[in-house]
């Protein structure tokens, strides 16, 4: 997994609460048993006037020329709620979105972000709203400093759990990390099979 630290570029405002993973990638857009080939389905219900003809909806934020190269999304609370589909994160990354700034995230979506190197930056709602007003400007995110600098002028800080920050910055594979605990896992399992023998199939 690629390590995450500095992210620079345009931030697009999609300041809406409870943007669910069905909106991020509708079920019909998950066409293959694959983590790739999903970016065309990103926000398909909003991005196109018609999902079959793919006629562009010019009013959708990512279709507007000033936001077409966005690498950051600014959104309201509970972004990524609903279905557990990790395809939402894969589609965002493949499209080019590297960070999402929101007051809160759906909990499974948040985990999926960390496991794939998409930065979920949390801050209070009023600060996100201030950033929305600056959304045409160049944003620079530093994960190590937990700051977002707008147009090289003012900075705000964001929250992220320390361990998630470490995983993102190091780009470590969580499975490899867990496998360093193999002995502890085996010991735990043996003890559990003794105390709860009915759980062994």
């Amino acid at each position: 997994m690629k390590s995450v630290n500095v992210i620079r570029g345009v931030a697009a405002p999609m300041f809406e609460a409870n943007v669910d993973t069905d909106v991020i990638i509708p079920s019909r857009e998950m066409k293959q048993v694959s983590k790739t080939g999903l970016s065309k389905g990103l926000f398909a219900g909003r991005r196109y006037m018609n999902f079959e003809t793919r006629e562009i909806n010019p009013s959708f934020v990512l279709n507007q020329p000033e936001f077409s190269s966005a690498v950051i999304l600014l959104t309201d609370q509970n972004f990524g709620c609903g279905s557990s589909r990790e395809h939402a994160v894969w589609a965002l990354l493949e499209y080019g979105i590297q960070a999402i700034i929101a007051p809160s995230f759906g909990s499974i979506f948040y985990k999926n972000c960390i496991n794939n190197g998409l930065l979920p930056a949390t801050m209070d709602r009023s600060t996100v709203m201030n950033l929305v007003k600056q959304s045409g400007s160049e944003f620079a995110i530093s994960l190590s400093n937990q700051t977002i600098t707008v147009a090289g002028q003012f900075s705000v800080t964001f929250d992220i759990n320390e361990s998630d920050k470490k995983l993102l910055m190091a780009g470590l594979d969580p499975i490899d990390q867990a496998l360093t605990y193999s002995k502890e896992i085996e010991a735990f399992e043996t003890a559990r099979q003794t105390s709860h023998p009915w759980l062994v199939l």
């Binding site: 409870n18 079920s27 019909r28 589909r85 809160s104 909990s107 605990y181 559990r192 009915w198 199939l201």
Partner: protein
């Protein structure tokens, strides 16, 4: 120190404290389905890794499979077959018990896991499906994960997780006639919002919960994710034990006695502290129906669509093609759906059938019932429920997730207004442009007969 049930379940699974606010939790059972499980198995194999404990992993075809009688691997969604084939070969590669399309035990994951006794009190169970919280109804630590986490659990039998806070929702009192667990959970979501339990694990308690059968408890826990909760749990009791007795994967003989003794300890200590508590009076709750595109946008069936309070409300009204202050009882529907992991179990079909008996749905309405599993279907047919449904004008189908969402390509079509026993009324959830009102099975049945949204107590029939 006194502990909540959630503390007990959590502590019993901690392999190690990672020292950074996260624990490494042991995972006892993993369930996979063809939509998100297939990609996890494929990625695991491609990464040169193995399923660590295949006997504790189960797979099922439920998300994309067709529900038409005589179905094959071909689905209405052109690429669906790929997921089905990949799931089958992945389970074969890993040596996992798969409930395949025509298996007599096939069904929706959260319906068949309890039916088979795969979920048990006190164990941890994960599935790359957000409604895994349904299975917390058994006093299990069950929660929904992503595909990468599924790979992690398959390869290591562990997951890294930060402990959520504990929220107790106490529901006391008697419910009115025809007010169900679905109405209660919709009322809770409408009250505290879809973000209302973010960062929490919910424990449902109270006399109304004690009085529920296991199926109603699953409906209650099923929609915890619609509150953004990590999961929900209910302490196991005599109802839980009697449900699980003699189930295929449940312990038998001396082991059963040993397990039962252990399960008695699975309850919150009387003085355990919760970070937050909410009290609900069950007798205040009426039949609920959603009007918008989020489950929190729900009101009582006899009330009106509210005046929008936010841009999100306005957008929801546009999508739903509704105007403020219209009575729900004046909203005409085009279709009715009964099924899903929320309300596709035998008691749900019985509740709907009780309304449908000797009645017929309104002309021009398309109505479909998809039993939650083969076992539910067979039990319903043994009672003659299938005849009640078909004589009332419903189509009677084979088990699967079906029209809960559009994964398999099954839909009532653009602009169709559907009253549905499912869990999500999101934009396009049931297909492009389809408008969803979520409600209980009895309400869906009553509305299908009435042609407009209608609670079961408001239905006037010629009976």
């Amino acid at each position: 120190m006194p502990k909540t049930l959630f503390d007990k379940l959590w502590d019993a699974h901690v392999v190690g404290d990672l020292g950074d606010g996260n624990a490494l939790l042991y995972i006892d059972r993993i369930f996979l389905h063809e939509r998100t499980g297939s990609v996890a198995l494929k990625s695991l194999e491609e990464g040169g890794r193995k399923v660590r404990f295949p006997a504790h992993v189960f797979g099922v075809m439920d998300h994309i499979v067709d529900t038409q009688i005589g179905r094959t691997d071909t689905t209405q969604m052109p690429s669906g077959k790929q997921f089905i084939s990949a799931m089958r070969s992945g389970c074969n590669w890993a040596g996992i018990r798969l409930f395949d399309i025509n298996d007599p035990d096939q069904g929706i994951v959260h319906v068949i896991s309890p039916e088979k006794g795969i979920v048990l009190p006190g164990l941890s169970l994960v599935c790359p499906d957000s409604h895994t919280c349904s299975q917390g109804a058994f006093g299990a630590l069950a929660w929904g994960i992503g595909s990468s986490e599924a790979e992690h659990a398959l390869a290591t039998n562990t997951l890294r997780a930060a402990k959520p806070k504990a929220l107790r929702i106490t529901i006391n009192g008697d419910t009115d006639n025809n007010v169900t667990a679905k109405d209660i959970i919709l009322a809770v979501i409408a009250k505290i919002g879809t973000n209302g339990a973010a960062g929490y694990a919910i424990e449902f308690t109270g006399s109304a919960v004690d009085a529920m059968d296991m199926e109603a408890r699953m409906t209650l826990c099923n929609m915890a994710v619609e509150l953004s909760a990590f999961t929900a749990i209910i302490a196991p009791d005599a109802t839980t034990v009697s449900y699980l007795k003699n189930k295929e994967y449940a312990p038998k003989g001396a082991m059963w006695e040993q397990a039962k003794a252990d399960w008695k300890t699975l309850k919150s200590d009387p003085s355990a502290l919760f970070s937050q508590t909410i009290e609900i009076n069950a007798s205040d709750i009426k039949t609920m129906v959603s009007w918008g595109t989020s489950p929190e946008q729900s009101v009582t069936a006899t009330s009106r669509v509210p005046t929008p309070q936010s841009k999100d409300d306005e957008q929801a009204l546009i999508y739903m093609d509704l105007v403020p202050e219209i009575r729900l009882s004046d909203i005409k529907i085009d279709a009715a759906f009964i099924g899903s992991c929320t309300n596709g179990r035998l008691s749900d079909l019985r509740a709907a059938a009780a309304i449908l008996k000797n009645n017929h749905i309104k002309e021009n309405i398309t109505a479909i019932c998809v039993p939650g599993s083969m076992a539910v279907k067979m039990a319903a047919e043994a009672e003659g429920l299938d005849k009640i449904f078909t004589e009332a004008g419903f189509e009677w189908r084979l088990p699967g997730c079906s029209m809960c969402f559009y994964a398999g390509g099954e839909s009532f079509g653009p602009n169709a207004r559907v009253i549905s026993t499912t869990n999500r009324n999101f934009e396009n959830r049931q297909g492009p442009g389809t408008r969803t009102h979520i409600a209980s099975p009895a309400t869906v049945a009553a509305s299908a007969i009435n042609g407009k949204i209608c609670g079961p107590n408001e239905l006037e029939t010629g009976r």
